[in-house]
């Protein structure tokens, strides 16, 4: 229900400006690829093993292959190279190709030059197998969602982060029994900065659990099982961000994840990932995510942890428009774009809760069909877990009365430790009570015309328009360089992973980009 009486023309103008901002970036993105995208292509083609690397440690074969491959050949796309080997040795499977090439037993110079058309023909069975598998996982999720009707929004999203996937399962199952609808497995600290995806089941992590294909599988199976018992579908979330952004998108698609945090802006600003690298990676990730029926979650909420939430909400809203534009270009539908914002105002501001209602309602009304992800207070939380619990209650009330879709539940012990089992329990109990008790509040309430809430919301929209105009005049990359987002400045060639960016050659070939983006080879949409 529209309550803020917003200027729709201004919202349309913001969307147009976002298009102006993303357009030149998309031109750049189309002309480039990255080492992470090439590794993802290998994963999709079935190169998902590990082998011993030069330092004697096991590494994914997709890393070993892309690192060994001469850069000049990589410019044509790793799929072109694989197709050339496959053409010469038709009976070799993926592990044979990997093994032979990594050991230096393939005479690369003897390989025929191969056109994109021919490469597509040679690799077709492997390509189709990957796409069929992703579609199958998507249908399975859709069937489950239909069979066990979803909980009502806001969906209750909790994190598990023990470091040990088996222990995570215990926490997750207990959380679901207590009412959680979404389980996110927080990754080990600094996994976003690793330039490879760890392999296998892991039981050791710092501040979280490594995102690996095997760990995804274990958690997915556990959640499906508890969903059957509870007759309620449970969504699984992980993080497609950092230096392996597209690879996590691939394994997330393969293992039937529901949500992936996916936001280049977050990586640039908060993880110092090179901006060009991660924007290129983001596009391909989102193409895969779109196909897999996964919903992205964006990370604009984080801006409000470095800048003041009262003064800077327009940065968040502006970034939503930009993120939406990028997402749509990669084929995501509205219901797959989970834009993130947060309840982070200084609690000592008079009317802070009223103003939070206004901001949450603003995001809701500007993106009426997107599943909005609302993040809890963190910045002003301290060891006073009792006060923190009250803040979370207010946050939950604002979430339900402004129809947020995804409510990442706050923890009373935030800023002290990763949630203990009982912390999650209090938090879920808090949210269940408030969501239930205030279920119809949003239908019952209207805001006073020209009251404090409405005026502030309009002012933020106005500032958003001006900010977008400024970014559009400056260009996205220059705006980031000038520290216009979250007061953090990054340089175009700085940050991690820039050496993994390259310009595509004229005969560059990435079968998945073309097939998935055009929606070809698709077994009928179910929605």
């Amino acid at each position: 229900m529209a309550k803020l009486n917003l200027d729709r023309d201004m919202i349309d103008s913001c969307r147009e400006l976002a298009g102006d901002i993303t357009h030149p970036m998309l031109v750049y993105i189309n002309r480039h690829s990255t080492i992470a995208i090439e590794r993802s292509v290998l994963r999709l083609l079935g190169f998902d093993d590990v082998m011993e690397g030069p330092d004697g440690m096991p590494y994914p074969v997709c890393n070993l292959i892309t690192e060994k491959l001469d850069r000049k050949r990589l410019y044509h796309g790793v799929a072109t190279f694989v197709a050339a080997i496959k053409k010469r040795y038709p009976r070799w499977n993926q592990s044979k190709i990997a093994e032979k090439f990594i050991r230096g037993e393939v005479n690369v110079d003897k390989l025929e030059e191969i056109s994109a058309e021919e490469a597509l023909l040679v690799l077709r069975p492997w390509i189709d197998r990957a796409i069929r598998h992703i579609d199958k996982m998507r249908y399975k999720k859709e069937e489950m969602r239909e069979k066990y009707s979803s909980a009502r929004t806001p969906l209750k999203y909790v994190i598990v982060a023990t470091g040990n996937i088996h222990e995570d399962v215990k926490h997750a199952v207990a959380g679901v029994r207590q009412g959680a609808d979404i389980i996110a497995v927080i990754r080990s600290t600094a996994q976003s900065l690793l330039d490879y995806v760890p392999h296998g089941v892991t039981t050791e992590g710092f501040g979280g659990t490594y995102a690996t294909q095997e760990n995804f599988k274990i958690m997915r199976a556990a959640l499906d099982e508890v969903a059957k018992k509870e007759k309620r579908y449970v969504r699984l979330c992980n993080y497609s961000s950092g230096l392996c952004m597209p690879e996590i998108a691939v394994i997330g698609a393969m293992e039937g994840l529901d949500y992936l945090l996916n936001d280049a802006m977050y990586g640039i600003l908060f993880r110092d990932i090179n901006m060009k690298r991660t924007l290129i990676d983001q596009f391909f990730s989102r193409v895969i995510i779109a196909r897999a029926g996964i919903t992205i979650n964006t990370g604009e909420d984080n801006y409000l942890t470095t800048v003041d939430a009262f003064d800077n909400h327009h940065q968040v809203l502006s970034s939503h428009f930009i993120n939406e534009s990028f997402a749509k270009q990669a084929g995501l539908r509205d219901d797959q774009i989970g834009l993130g914002h947060a309840f982070e105002m200084n609690p000592t501001i008079e009317d802070s809760i009223a103003l939070e209602i206004g901001m949450a309602q603003l995001v809701r009304e500007v993106f009426p069909r997107c599943p909005i992800k609302y993040m809890p207070p963190t910045k002003y939380k301290s060891g006073d877990i009792f006060f923190s619990h009250v803040m979370d209650a207010m946050y939950n009330l604002v979430g339900v009365m402004t129809n947020q879709d995804i409510q990442l539940l706050g923890m009373a012990t935030e800023s002290n430790h990763n949630p203990h089992l009982q912390d999650r329990f209090w938090s879920l109990k808090n949210a269940s009570y408030i969501f239930h008790g205030a279920r119809s509040l949003s239908d019952e309430l209207v805001f006073s015309a020209n009251g404090k809430i409405m005026r502030h919301a309009r002012q933020v929209l106005d500032r958003t328009y001006k900010f977008l105009k400024q970014v559009s005049n400056t260009s996205l990359l220059d705006s980031i360089e000038r520290g216009m987002f979250a007061d953090i400045s990054r340089t175009k060639e700085g940050g991690r992973g820039y050496d993994g960016v390259f310009e595509k050659s004229r005969r560059y070939f990435n079968p998945f980009l073309d097939l998935m983006l055009s929606g070809q080879n698709r077994g009928g949409r179910r929605d």
Binding site: A174, A190, T348, K379, D384
Partner: protein, 281 residues
């Protein structure tokens, strides 16, 4: 914990009179010396009742046995008059408890000594003025998150030009050459930088503290620093983070530790004050 009382620079938005959840609690030892008892027991609603509340989880189904188990557990901790006031199942395998008990344990306050960081609180202008006058050159200040910790929120809040909570960051101080190396800096790289730039002070931030990893990393830094002969002997070593106290910092071999709620001007004042003191020695 560092008590900063009410020393804001005054350019914060209005409404700062209420309690600021970020600031360390006001302890007021100096003003209340005469009220300091010589020994204490926990306090519920009257002196020496020893009442303490506990909440915890047991990995067992919620049943009568669980309640007895919780009761016994708390009794074994030495509590008396144990009262399990709440139990609830958290899924099939875990139970949550709220328990009250009384403890006879007495703490002798005359035996407690807490190292406290004592320095004046200068303003931005005062720090710049003092360093210019008493030291006569820019102080080189390095900052980093060492180890695998990728959370630069803390170090950025102290260093970034714009500052934090309306308080300018060290990069803006005209009396300092402040260099923020940010995240994922190895101990070795940091020490190399300290030597190369002849740093006057180094700040290390640790946010992630799982399994006390921060303690190992900070210890390792001090150990390796001691090995390096070219480090200026008067280097001021500072660490900070949500779980870091001045006491912990001293134990680990740092000169100072800053906990949550620290503003850039606190750190700047300390660096200025300490540098001037050291110069005088």
């Amino acid at each position: 914990m560092i008590n900063r009382g009410n020393q804001d620079r005054g350019n914060n938005r209005s409404g700062n009179k209420g309690h600021d959840t970020k600031r360390a609690p006001y302890t007021g030892y100096d003003d209340l010396k005469e009220k300091m008892p010589t020994e204490v027991k926990a306090y519920g609603d009257h002196r020496d009742d020893g009442a303490i509340q506990l909440s915890f989880t047991l990995p067992m189904p919620c049943c009568e046995e669980a309640k007895i188990a919780a009761q016994t557990l708390v009794e074994k901790m030495g509590f008396q008059k144990v009262n399990v006031i709440y139990t609830e199942a958290m899924g099939p395998c875990f139970t949550f408890f709220v328990v009250y008990g009384c403890s006879d344990v007495v703490v002798d306050l005359t035996k407690i000594e807490v190292p406290k960081l004592d320095f004046p609180n200068y303003s931005y202008e005062q720090v710049n003025g003092l360093i210019k006058e008493k030291i006569g050159r820019k102080l080189v200040v390095l900052g980093a998150c060492i180890g695998t910790d990728a959370h630069t929120v803390g170090i950025d809040a102290i260093f970034n030009m714009k500052g934090y909570m309306g308080d300018y960051g060290l990069e803006r101080y005209t009396s300092m050459q402040a260099i923020n190396l940010r995240a994922q800096v190895s101990t070795k790289q940091l020490i190399e930088k300290i030597v190369a730039l002849q740093a006057d002070a180094v700040l290390i931030s640790r946010v992630v503290t799982q399994r006390d990893e921060h303690i190992d990393v900070l210890k390792e830094f001090i150990q390796e620093l001691e090995q390096e002969k070219e480090v200026a002997s008067n280097l001021i070593k500072i660490c900070g983070g949500p779980r870091i106290s001045h006491q912990l910092a001293k134990e680990l071999g740092f000169d100072a530790g800053f906990g949550p709620g620290t503003k850039p001007s606190h750190v700047a004042s300390y660096i200025a004050d300490e540098s001037i003191k050291r110069l005088a020695r």
